[in-house]
Subunit: 223 residues, 4 copies
Amino acid sequence: MEGSQASRPVMKELRRGGRPAAGTDPQKRRQILDGAHRIFSELGFDATSMSDVARSAQVSKATLYVYFQDKEHLFTAICAEQRDRNVAEKLALLDVNQPLPEVLARFGMEILSTLAQPLVVAAHRIVIGVAERMPEIGSEFYEAGPLRVINAVAQYLDHHVAAGRLNVPDTQLAAAQFCEVIQGGMVKARLYGVLNEPPPRDEIEKNVASGLALFLKGYGFAG
Amino acid sequence: MEGSQASRPVMKELRRGGRPAAGTDPQKRRQILDGAHRIFSELGFDATSMSDVARSAQVSKATLYVYFQDKEHLFTAICAEQRDRNVAEKLALLDVNQPLPEVLARFGMEILSTLAQPLVVAAHRIVIGVAERMPEIGSEFYEAGPLRVINAVAQYLDHHVAAGRLNVPDTQLAAAQFCEVIQGGMVKARLYGVLNEPPPRDEIEKNVASGLALFLKGYGFAG
Amino acid sequence: MEGSQASRPVMKELRRGGRPAAGTDPQKRRQILDGAHRIFSELGFDATSMSDVARSAQVSKATLYVYFQDKEHLFTAICAEQRDRNVAEKLALLDVNQPLPEVLARFGMEILSTLAQPLVVAAHRIVIGVAERMPEIGSEFYEAGPLRVINAVAQYLDHHVAAGRLNVPDTQLAAAQFCEVIQGGMVKARLYGVLNEPPPRDEIEKNVASGLALFLKGYGFAG
Amino acid sequence: MEGSQASRPVMKELRRGGRPAAGTDPQKRRQILDGAHRIFSELGFDATSMSDVARSAQVSKATLYVYFQDKEHLFTAICAEQRDRNVAEKLALLDVNQPLPEVLARFGMEILSTLAQPLVVAAHRIVIGVAERMPEIGSEFYEAGPLRVINAVAQYLDHHVAAGRLNVPDTQLAAAQFCEVIQGGMVKARLYGVLNEPPPRDEIEKNVASGLALFLKGYGFAG
DNA sequence: GATGAATGAGCCTTCATTCAT
DNA sequence: CATGAATGAAGGCTCATTCAT
């Protein structure tokens, strides 16, 4: 298993540059991404075979490889899409000109609703499950997703701290706390597979409201 | 995957006297569990082959199957051990007769120190990664671990709420919030593989202190 | 196809040392080598699948990989065997104490008989066919086989040149020439697949005799 | 692999008028042959994919199939071209009216220079490597190449034997011996991949001179 | 006629699991 | 009981070849 490192690649690695044509039909690409996302979410990364993906996406296995270099790249593409999809529009909610409690409430609702969605939970599960072996995927995902949100919240808090409305010594830490506290353990339970349905709206509302109240009072929010 | 478990030993049982049918040497069992834990933590569930386990545990592959029905059962056994190992002693810290802030501080320190350990993070990662396909493992793990802690904290809070020292409408929810705020995102980052070393003690202290302060003030703790 | 060099191996290459147990039953090893040799000779390296080999050797495909790291190593093992099998005993024929013409006649007969055997031709064919992509295999084969013979003959000629019985300015070159002339194109034709049966003995004799006469007269052999 | 070759064009033939059915642009054909030759020589038959060929020839893969029925036919076309390219002009050197030693020297130089060229070696390698599975390709190649040369030399020798200048009992055999002996093992080593650069002119000269001298003296050439 | 895209078949390799010893 | 050896099944990936445009 170790001696072959030098000799095996000889046979194929000689082939140089120029990939096969790099599938460019965006529609088909979508079809593949959607099908792959569906089945990856259902089975996890390792337990999903490329045949499964092909079946789920209704294309031939070979076509998969026209659009994506390999299984890992396909998966990474899905992750990237998943995190980037709505983050931007969510961050836009952090409007410093609106009243803080309402902004954070709305923002929290958005975040929690998204995070608790089964498909999103599934994506996080996979990334976490794979993080040991492929730390770059995990880090990248974390940084472009959760961390980006935390940073935005921290910046938002900075503003209000400067304005004297909040007493927060470490806004970065506070932002992380905020993101956790509004979840009330709801996402965590789902991560472990305890629950699988999207939570009812009132439960989300309750958790966000409770967490937000705790946060505001705890950091001495002065209307 | 589970069907053939009862039939094989039967033959042996018939031939010999009342000898214990399957692997019962507790020392060897330990050896296997330790080796398996080590390698599972390093590679994850799917990426670890039974050959890897055998090598890591220094036993033959066949012996593995004498002590554990299959890969999944072996893994489950490790998880069970992992969660149960220290939970009990940690819960004992929640002594209602000691001053609340100190109890929660000490308890939080314990919890966070444990959760941030690489091997523990690895175990959680695996369970989460596997939760989609094997929800029972995930649920069981969650219930015997995180949930058990939450419940204990909730009960502890109940006591102080009853004593009028705390104003908490939903102690179960508050317990979950407590468990999250004290982490300050420290465990989450590790879950995604962003960091891998155990955090320095002062960082843990800072996070617990900050989270606890937030929690106490937010829930109107009155000394 | 090129970007994956760094990322793909991550998944598996993590596994370290200790191969699976390295099949050691020499009988089974023989069985595999023989079966593989048979089918490789029939179909060539690339056109022979490991399934073909397994079938031909009457073992499971997985067993193949217990005894040989991969297809290339299996093939190399066959080549090594093939060249080493009889070379030594043939070189022993070059006895400087026997009369030169008889020695070279006997030696030439041995060499040509062997080289014209279908299975040997097949081995050479494969090695040559593969030499572009795997030059080490080709070189190694050439050096351990043809070159070794040439060197031995050169040394043998040296002796007789020193004794004044032969007038050869470059014995290395002469040795190469000798090895070729005695074949009379017989091996070459077989290499290209023109003929496939082993040549009749008298044809071999004729070619060797003719080539040897040419060689001796050409290099002024003086009884 | 060969079955479907006649049926496809039929449809087109019916629809349109007397337009040439299959790829007839000789320029494009050249382009394909050259590109294919280049890459086949580099990688060998099996290791060269039709994508490689398409890339090397700068045409689409589908176009390849307009000009050549399949991979094998394309390859065969290249081989045919390769052998026929210069054989004729070389055979013309065998002028019975010129002094024999000079003719054979010049002829030998031409032959050996050509055979030792990397691209030519590569072609031979491929044909040999493929000969087991596709004996017609091998035979055809051998007959139109090496054998044709041998025959011409044999005929040339016949003339001089008849003129009493040479004492050769079997000119066919002698021709084969001549072709081999002038190579001095130079081509053989290259066939096995030991060397890859074209040999320097003086080395070629030396081998031819040595071989020719041996041949002439051995067959009693009388000026 | 030329091409980009698609695919069924098949390859090498590995894995979880089970016997015979 | 422990093990070395063996294997059926499956996985990721590529290829020669063919349509629709």
